[in-house]
């Protein structure tokens, strides 16, 4: 009268267990190295360290957005609103400081608080009312693009505001001519965000919760994990990151364009997936996202060095890479299933 199905050792997913989980990120890093070496071999001055530093200057806002997106995707959700929230944050900075005369530091804090509050609201709607993340964040995509256009349908300059000069103030690491490089403060802000995200995701209870909810929400609930807090938290983080990215964009360009960042959400999602995070949630790394953003930046750099290619090639290659990584994840998942049986 034994019931083998009850006494047998519970099977658990071997997907992304052990060394297998490092395969996608290993592929990304290999790809990154190949792109860099290919650039060095083909173009003069590509080995200048400033080429790598420039990746973190041009893509600092995208990096911050992608880190926020990593949290959401790890928890099994998606956030389509980040591009619009980013444009809105930049525009709100300009509006508060130039038109309303609010002190710039206070304006920045207000914008960040607003982004976080919006994320909390969206997270609450998704969790309590079971609205699909896709639809709930679609609201933000339309709403903030509309609000941004209503504040101003044309570019607004922030050159007169001294505070926004701070972001591009740079730290020199040796002379650029002698193989040195420089980085502006806004890159360090992005690095700080990555460091904080890394610690939160891998070394705190909240971070464990994000992985657990992404793996299986029901299991997380049955284990007594605070599912509501985790799910609402990831959208708040994403909203805050998107607002911060908007502030960084304000630092970088010192102007607000109402049609900026259309499609940034797609770049961020692609960077996260190419960085080895499973789009269904539950597996991935923040540092992989950094590698994913670097791949995107490296593609654009290569196209700029080549000179005669349309910038659209970056999107096409990114789409092809996305496809390759999705198929790689499927193959790993299938082999995991085979080993189990």
């Amino acid at each position: 009268m034994t019931a083998p199905t009850l006494t047998a050792r519970p099977t658990r997913s071997k997907l992304f267990d052990g060394l297998t989980r490092y395969v996608p990120i290993g592929a990304t890093i290999g790809l990154l190295a190949a792109l860099y070496l290919g650039g060095v071999a083909n173009y003069p001055n590509f080995d200048n360290p400033q080429v790598v530093a420039k990746l973190f200057i041009d893509n600092a806002p995208l990096l911050v957005v992608a880190v926020g997106m990593t949290f959401v995707i790890l928890s099994g959700g998606i956030d389509l609103s980040v591009g619009s929230v980013m444009a809105f944050a930049t525009m709100a900075c300009a509006w508060l400081t130039v038109d309303a005369g609010v002190a710039a530091p206070l304006a920045t804090v207000l914008v960040l608080a607003f982004g976080t509050a919006w994320g909390l609201l969206v997270g609450a709607v998704i969790h309590y009312f079971h609205v699909q993340p896709f639809i709930a964040t679609l609201v933000g995509l339309f709403l903030f693009r509309g609000l941004t256009l209503q504040i101003s349908a044309t570019d607004v300059s922030m050159r007169e505001i001294g505070f926004f000069q701070w972001g591009m103030t740079h730290v020199d690491f040796g002379e650029v001519r002698d193989g040195g490089f420089w980085l502006p403060y806004l890159s360090f802000v992005a690095f700080a965000v990555v460091a904080v995200a890394f610690v939160v995701l891998h070394y705190t209870r909240f971070g464990r919760g994000v992985y657990a909810v992404g793996g299986s929400e029901t299991s997380a609930l049955l284990m007594g994990l605070p599912v509501a807090r985790t799910k609402i938290g990831v959208y708040a983080i994403s909203g805050c990151c998107a607002a911060l990215a908007g502030v960084l964009a304000a630092f970088a360009t010192k102007s607000a364009n109402p049609l900026a960042n259309v499609g940034t959400e797609l770049d961020a999602i692609a960077a996260v997936v190419i960085g080895g995070t499973l789009l269904t949630g539950g597996a991935g790394f923040v540092l992989g996202t950094v590698a994913g953003v670097m791949v995107w930046g490296m593609l654009n750099t290569l196209i700029a060095f080549q000179g005669n290619l349309s910038s659209w090639w970056a999107r096409i290659v990114m789409g092809a890479l996305l496809l390759a990584f999705i198929l790689l994840q499927r193959v790993l998942a299938r082999s995991g299933e085979k080993r189990r049986t």
Partner: protein
């Protein structure tokens, strides 16, 4: 009143309310079609229908995809690809007014977009990739492909080319885009409601594995549905390009996938799959088209469009959520079901 009619009640009421607002703002001329000097049907409402035709085509394809529990994010990019292929083929030819050339260009564009749709379907059905992820690939890369087809330029077709008739012409006084949209709607409605195909679709959406075990060719049906969706998106791109006489790879059909999903949801098709209402989708499309005109007619700037759409998405999403309805209606229902702590806990957890 059957369930089908009940489902359509709310969308129809919203549409009537929007039309009423427009009539108050601009007069009865809004709804009454007029006949232009060149013998074509005109008037504000007919124009809304004509401009909504591409969105309707895409939304119909999207309805079928959503019925199988899928989603197709790539339709905006496919729209751009279809438009780019047709326009580029025509301007590359020596004589743009040749009828055979236009037919060949249209056929080429439709074949390419159908192939793209089938590709999406194969990714979903045979590789087992989530629809949202599988179609995201082409959403990201698709506009780049369209850009490659046009070589980074915006190809402009001569006004004399018969191709433009597809967007601007009229047959029996009714604009051709409306004819095409109506034909596709009728064909799909007949195909899904007069044959078993509709039931098979809903079955696949409900549970693909169970359907397969019941003898339904789930994978074939899934591929077919994405193929039709790609074809509809390509056709929509052709109409849009013919109307403008040009194909803009960057901005042609930008965000049309979101509008299409919105129209499907307004029309009462649940994103969870297993049920679909083609007529509801059509009403949803007309609601979106009318909404855009309403904003202008009541004196708001066109930038309010986005905000208005956001409000509509939010309202529809909340109204379709059983948890939200329970939460809102709880105070009203307290008396008949007094001991309802379980329900309260459910809403709070």
């Amino acid at each position: 009143m059957n369930a089908y009619a009940k489902r359509l009640l709310w969308p129809v009421l919203i549409l009537l309310a929007l039309i009423a607002v427009n009539i108050v703002a601009t007069g009865v001329d809004f709804i009454v079609p007029s006949v232009n000097d060149d013998g074509r049907l005109g008037g504000a409402f007919v124009n809304i229908l004509r401009r909504s035709a591409p969105l309707l085509l895409i939304a119909l394809g999207m309805t079928l995809v959503i019925a199988t529990k899928g989603i197709d994010l790539s339709v905006g990019a496919v729209y751009a690809i279809g438009a780019a292929i047709a326009c580029q083929t025509i301007i590359d030819a020596p004589d743009q007014t040749a009828g055979g050339l236009v037919l060949a260009a249209v056929a080429l564009a439709l074949a390419a977009t159908a192939a793209i749709g089938a590709w999406n379907g194969v990714m979903v059905a045979h590789f087992g990739i989530q629809p949202i992820v599988a179609t995201l690939v082409l959403m990201i890369a698709g506009r780049g492909i369209a850009q490659l087809v046009t070589g980074g330029q915006i190809p402009k077709v001569q006004d004399a080319s018969p191709f433009t008739e597809l967007g601007r012409g009229a047959f029996l006084t009714v604009p051709i885009p409306i004819w095409i949209a109506a034909l596709v709607l009728t064909a799909l409605a007949l195909l899904t409601r007069r044959t078993a195909l509709g039931m098979l679709l809903e079955s696949v959406g409900g549970n693909p594995e169970a359907s397969r075990l019941a003898g339904i060719r789930s994978r074939g049906i899934t591929v077919l549905v994405y193929l039709v969706c790609g074809l509809c998106a390509g056709l929509a791109g052709l109409i849009g390009a013919a109307n403008l006489g040009s194909a803009d790879a960057n901005n042609g059909g930008l965000w049309i996938e979101l509008d299409a999903i919105l129209a499907v949801v307004i029309g009462g098709t649940a994103l969870l799959g297993g049920r679909f209402f083609l007529l509801g989708t059509a009403i949803g499309v007309v609601i979106i088209g009318t909404l855009e005109d309403t904003i202008i007619n009541v004196g708001l700037s066109s930038q309010w469009q986005f905000t208005a759409k956001a409000v509509v998405v939010f309202a529809v999403a909340l109204l379709q959520s059983p948890e939200f309805r329970g939460w809102v209606l709880r105070p009203l229902r307290r008396r008949p079901e007094a001991p309802a702590p379980a329900q309260a806990e459910e809403a709070a957890s």
